[in-house]
């Protein structure tokens, strides 16, 4: 994948995350911050499908953006074909793992498993 495409994704995920995290924070604030963190409230939020979808999208956006940022930092610390390939693969794998684990939590909560 060309670097310019990766950067486009990086910029797009950042912009989208800013907008969606703002929505997320606004919902928390309008509900009352302390109240919104109570157990019943959190469970209710996960079971509300549009909000669960919002959390899932934020999870994907921040994972892709964050792990690509980490990849860029690591590429600047050291160079070498094998090192760069290992860093790229490790960051992709870490992003997939975080998205998978987070998605599992969101889906289980949404389906009422907890």
């Amino acid at each position: 994948m060309r670097e310019s495409l990766i950067i486009r994704i990086h910029y797009a995920t950042a912009l989208a995350a800013v907008a969606l995290v703002a929505v997320h924070v606004l919902i928390r604030v309008t509900q009352g911050f302390a109240e919104s963190l109570e157990y019943e409230s959190v469970v209710a939020n996960y079971r509300f499908l549009p909000y669960a979808g919002l959390l899932e999208i934020i999870l994907i956006l921040l994972s892709v953006h964050g792990f690509n940022g980490l990849r860029v930092i690591l590429l600047e610390l050291r160079q070498g074909r094998r090192y760069e390939r290992a860093v790229t693969l490790a960051c992709v794998a870490a992003a997939v793992a975080v998205i998978a684990y987070g998605s599992r939590t969101i889906i289980l909560m949404n389906m009422g498993a907890v």
């Binding site: 060309r2 310019s4 990766i6 860029v72 590429l75 600047e76 610390l77 160079q79």
Partner: protein, 247 residues
């Protein structure tokens, strides 16, 4: 005809010049040599180094040629900042000792002389010339006309003298040994912005690398140190615009 002595207002003073000495090929680590040299208001750092060579230690290694900020040979760290020695007067550096060191982000050959292989390789990689099938002058052809506005787009970047000060000031160059560098990126923009050139797509492909244009953090230090008024940081941002399809 008698030589005319330069005017003097009695402002001649003595300046302590500290020169970082090293010879990596001979295994000689860095040390500093101190020289006391005379300085008139117009004395440049290069003048002072050459006086130290002439009057104290002829073995000081320094590269220079034109003495008028045109050849780009005498780049070095002067009091911690990349500058051209021939373009920096001692009088603009304050009253303290003047410390000169080889440029950062370049391998030291000896004393103040650094190797330019990486800069020249990067510069060469972006094809720093007009790519055009119509470039050759043949009977019946004429030069390619450009409007003043078209020239304005790239002319400041054509002032680059390849002195390497921008690369020396760049923080990414310090950590990423494969980063193409602000000098080459600015030159890539210089040709991309030229209406006579047809090599834009290839140049953009060359710099679209994991150690290419996207590793620029936009610190802007390259533009601050350029002795010719070139603004590599701006060129890099304009080039990013081309790559993202905004231009």
């Amino acid at each position: 005809m008698a030589a005319v002595a330069p005017p003097t207002d009695g402002a001649r003073r003595s300046v302590t010049l500290r020169i970082r000495r090293s010879n990596p090929a001979a295994g000689q680590g860095p040390s500093y040599s101190e020289f006391t040299v005379g300085a008139e208001p117009w004395t440049t750092v290069l003048d002072a180094i050459l006086e130290a060579k002439r009057g104290h230690d002829h073995s000081v290694g320094v590269r220079y040629s034109c003495r008028q900020a045109t050849c780009g040979s005498c780049g070095m760290m002067v009091n911690g900042r990349p500058r051209l020695a021939c373009f920096t007067k001692l009088s603009e550096l304050g009253d303290g000792a003047v410390t000169v060191e080889p440029m950062q982000n370049f391998p030291v050959v000896r004393d103040l002389v650094v190797g330019f292989d990486r800069l020249f390789r990067s510069h060469h990689s972006i094809r720093p010339y007009i790519v055009s099938g119509e470039a050759d002058i043949a009977p019946g052809t004429r030069e390619t006309p450009q409007s003043p506005e078209e020239v304005e787009r790239y002319i400041q970047f054509a002032g680059c003298i390849k002195c390497g000060l921008c690369n020396s000031a760049c923080p990414t160059m310090a950590t990423d040994t494969q980063f193409i560098g602000p000098q080459s990126l600015a030159q890539a923009y210089r040709y991309v912005a030229d209406t006579r050139d047809r090599g834009k797509d290839e140049r953009l492909r060359i710099i679209d690398d994991s150690h290419g244009i996207w590793r620029c953090h936009y610190a802007g230090s390259c533009s601050k140190v350029c002795p010719k008024g070139v603004d590599p940081a701006m060129g890099i941002q304009l080039l990013k615009g081309h790559m993202l399809g905004f231009r």
